[in-house]
């Protein structure tokens, strides 16, 4: 029996794909995320930046429901993650920084299972799986077991798994890690095409040039707090550095000592 869904919130009306209110998470004495407020409108690519240990992954894990926040609420397309997790997750896909796969399944078998998790009808799933694998250049490896795949190929399979139910919100943690130049280009094109079709992508990356070129909005987090958020132009304005690159703005905000001060 499904739990009754809570009434849709203002996020639907305002067109927010994801809204986090006052997210707080600590691990013992270590504060990982400290009152994060995030509002990501639909239909754009949002880059979530920060130095190592700034709280990016913790934030994403709370947004996806993998980690329960100590305080705060997450709404995905208007559904509160805490009270209506199934409805909230139905339109969501998440790719962690180190995705785990079933090594002894073939690429196609993996996609079959993922599709079933999101209740995609079998026929539709099969057609989409074939298309996605062809699009990602893995059409000739569909029956090979995943434990024989390279890291980049595994990344592509995870991406295919994330896209198979055509989520309206895609969260990616360091999606370009381990990909060669051609594959990285392929993934970037795929994400841009995805956003062009009205869907939303939130990604974290350490490659600031990627964020600068792809993202419509950028958020910079440091020590668990969102320091700055907006379009690149807005970031330049607020940081008082017109014409600056994202890297300059980023380093000005987090400082060169960020690495040593970072929380895990």
């Amino acid at each position: 029996m499904d739990a009754p869904l809570p009434p849709l919130l203002s996020t639907v009306e305002t067109g927010l794909a994801c809204e986090a209110r006052g997210l707080y998470k600590s691990f013992g004495a270590q504060i990982a995320v400290d009152g994060l407020d995030l509002r990501v409108p639909r239909g754009l690519l949002y880059a979530f930046l920060g130095p190592n240990g700034a709280g990016k992954t913790t934030s994403l894990r709370m947004i996806t429901g993998l980690l329960r926040p100590d305080r705060g609420e997450v709404y995905l397309h208007g559904h509160a993650l805490r009270t209506a997790p199934e409805a909230a997750k139905a339109a969501l896909a998440y790719i962690p920084d180190e995705p785990t796969l079933y090594g002894k399944l073939s690429a196609l078998e993996y996609l079959e299972f993922v599709a079933a998790l999101w209740a995609v009808p079998a026929g539709t799933a099969q057609a989409r799986a074939t298309d996605l694998l062809a699009q990602l250049g893995l059409a000739d490896r569909v029956h090979d077991r995943l434990d024989g795949f390279s890291r980049g190929m595994k990344q592509k399979i995870v991406l295919a798994g994330a896209l198979i139910h055509e989520p309206s919100l895609l969260l990616l943690d360091e999606p370009l890690t381990g990909l060669d130049a051609a594959s990285a280009r392929l993934v970037k094109d795929l994400l841009l095409d995805y956003v062009a079709r009205g869907r939303t992508v939130i990604l974290t990356t350490h490659i600031l040039e990627v964020a600068e070129r792809l993202a419509q909005r950028i958020g910079i987090i440091h020590r668990g707090r969102l320091l700055l958020e907006g379009t690149l132009e807005e970031l330049r304005e607020r940081s008082g550095k017109p014409g600056a690159t994202l890297e300059e703005i980023f380093l000005q905000l987090v400082g060169p000592s960020a690495v040593t001060q970072a929380v895990p």
């Binding site: 139905a90 002894k104 993922v114 079933a116 998790l117 099969q126």
Partner: protein, 510 residues
């Protein structure tokens, strides 16, 4: 060579420290481990002392030879296990081989560490008879300690070579799995040997038949080459020298092979496996409809594609073999077969269902999906129960064809109940952990939970009940059997009714 001795000693010390920690970090802890192993050590001394009185004028050479040969199996099993761990799983060879320490020294330390691991693993069982042998039968048996060390070295070198040869033939990844399977099988060989009299002497497995079996085995073992360790253990110079030379040759060959394999770079255990040329391409099957079917299908595939897991699972069940013979001594085969089927199926179900539910490789994927946990764990329980149920159905069919339809029906019903209850209990109670750590005691997974005990007791009740009821006749045994079956059925039903079903859901949320 000498100037590298300190760093070599340091590497070996580090290996031994890691090995020691892997032994100690079990549920017993350091003090508990020392107490338990100490007690076991004392009891084995006592047992060896008592056994030594059987041979007033010293044990026959054939008997000694048999014991040495039997010792080789667990030592070889331990050597293969250690080789796989130190050469492929730990993954520190890249670090060591890129260090300024010469490759030959690094690889030599690996051989020493593997040997030390083998000695420590079997030492608690080997030392008591050796201690008793020289105190009881004279100081010439002091040579047995040296023979033991030689055999440990020999087995380690052989284990390394076997692992390397497999790596060359099959590729590192497949070789690692096959070597682990061989290690498990070799380790179980001694246990199987002692069960042989039961297996081959079903009609009259009394003490005379067993004695005759061991006499024949000792006679067989007393051959010129096979009795080399036994004669060396009696400090005969020729065999002692021969065994030392043989060990030296195998060790030298093994060191050469190690150097060749690792300097050539064929050690990459985690290397990608290229698709085999000409390998049969899979047929694209239609996707399964529905979450339950897809999950069940997926978990069943993962179970049957993991030969190491299956081997280890079945190895655990191997130790239940004696249960099969509990009834077979006074009665025919049908009752015991029915009873043993229940017990074995339940034991396998416990393992497979635990693997399916707790050894979930992509747990975050499940948690980030909107899939209902209840359906997921029901499918996982079903996947764990499928193979045991098929086995039970085959046995049932055989029993029916042999002219025991009622016993067959009772077996199928009891099997369905106990397998279902076992799968259910394990699937909804165990916490997810990395699949490769499933049999790793350091992760606390070797511990039997109360759910596992409940399932085992239920299957024992059902198995013994069937065994008694299947004897034939309607006497006290039959009634006891029916009573046990009834208790088993009630217990199984209680598992389904009383067990809260949202445990997994809670795990999924946290």
């Amino acid at each position: 060579m000498m100037r590298h001795l300190p760093i070599a000693a340091r590497i070996v010390r580090n290996d031994l420290r890691l090995f020691w920690r892997s032994l100690i970090r079990q549920k017993l802890g350091l003090v508990g481990s020392v107490l338990v192993y100490g007690f076991l050590f004392l009891m084995l001394h006592f047992g060896a002392w008592a056994f030594a009185h059987v041979f007033r004028h010293g044990p026959p050479l054939g008997f000694e030879s048999l014991l040495w040969l039997l010792l080789i199996f667990p030592m070889l099993g331990a050597a293969i296990h250690q080789s796989v761990t130190l050469l492929y799983e730990r993954g520190d060879l890249d670090l060591l081989l890129t260090s300024p320490v010469p490759a030959s020294i690094v690889l030599l330390t690996r051989l020493v560490s593997i040997t030390a691991g083998v000695i420590l693993l079997v030492g608690v069982f080997v030392l008591p008879p050796l201690d008793v042998a020289w105190t009881f039968f004279g100081p010439r048996y002091l040579a047995t300690y040296f023979v033991w060390l030689l055999l440990a070295l020999l087995c380690s070198a052989a284990g390394i070579m076997l692992t390397l040869v497999l790596a060359r033939w099959l590729g590192a990844r497949r070789a690692r799995i096959l070597a682990q399977i061989i290690g498990v099988a070799t380790g179980s060989a001694v246990f199987l040997f002692f069960q042989l009299p039961n297996l081959i002497g079903q009609s009259s497995p009394n003490s005379h038949a067993r004695a005759r079996f061991f006499q024949a085995a000792a006679h067989w073992a007393n051959r010129p080459l096979l009795n080399l360790p036994a004669r060396a253990g009696r400090a005969e110079p020729g065999p002692l020298l021969g065994l030392t030379l043989l060990t030296g040759c195998v060790v030298a060959l093994s060191a050469f092979r190690l150097q060749h394999a690792f300097v050539e770079g064929t050690q990459a255990a985690t290397a990608e496996v290229a698709p085999r040329p000409g390998a049969k391409r899979g047929r694209t099957k239609s996707f399964q409809t529905g979450l339950f079917a897809a999950t069940w299908n997926k978990d069943l595939r993962l179970i049957h594609r993991d030969p190491l897991l299956l081997t280890r699972g079945f190895q655990q069940c191997l130790f239940m073999l004696p249960a099969i013979f509990v009834f077979s001594r006074q009665a025919g085969l049908t009752g015991p077969i029915a009873g043993a089927t229940i017990v074995l199926c339940c034991a396998v179900t416990i393992i497979l269902a635990s693997v399916a539910a707790s050894g979930e490789e992509a747990f975050d994927l499940l948690r980030s999906s909107p899939a209902r946990p209840r359906i997921l764990f029901a499918a996982k329980a079903a996947a764990g129960a499928t193979l045991p149920f098929i086995f039970a159905a085959i046995v049932t069919l055989a029993l029916a064809l042999l002219g025991h339809p009622w016993l067959a029906l009772a077996t199928l019903a009891t099997a369905a109940l106990t397998i279902g209850a076992s799968a259910w209990l394990m699937a909804v109670n165990v916490r997810p952990r990395p699949r490769e750590d499933f049999f790793n005691r350091r992760q606390g997974t070797g511990r039997m939970t109360w759910h596992g005990w409940t399932a085992t007791i239920l299957s024992m009740l059902g198995g013994f009940g069937l065994g008694l009821a299947g004897h034939g006749g309607f006497g006290a045994a039959f009634l006891t059997g029916i009573l046990l079956l009834g208790l088993c059925a009630l217990g199984c039903l209680a598992c389904f009714v009383l067990k809260p079903v949202d445990d997994w859901a809670a795990i999924m949320r946290d």
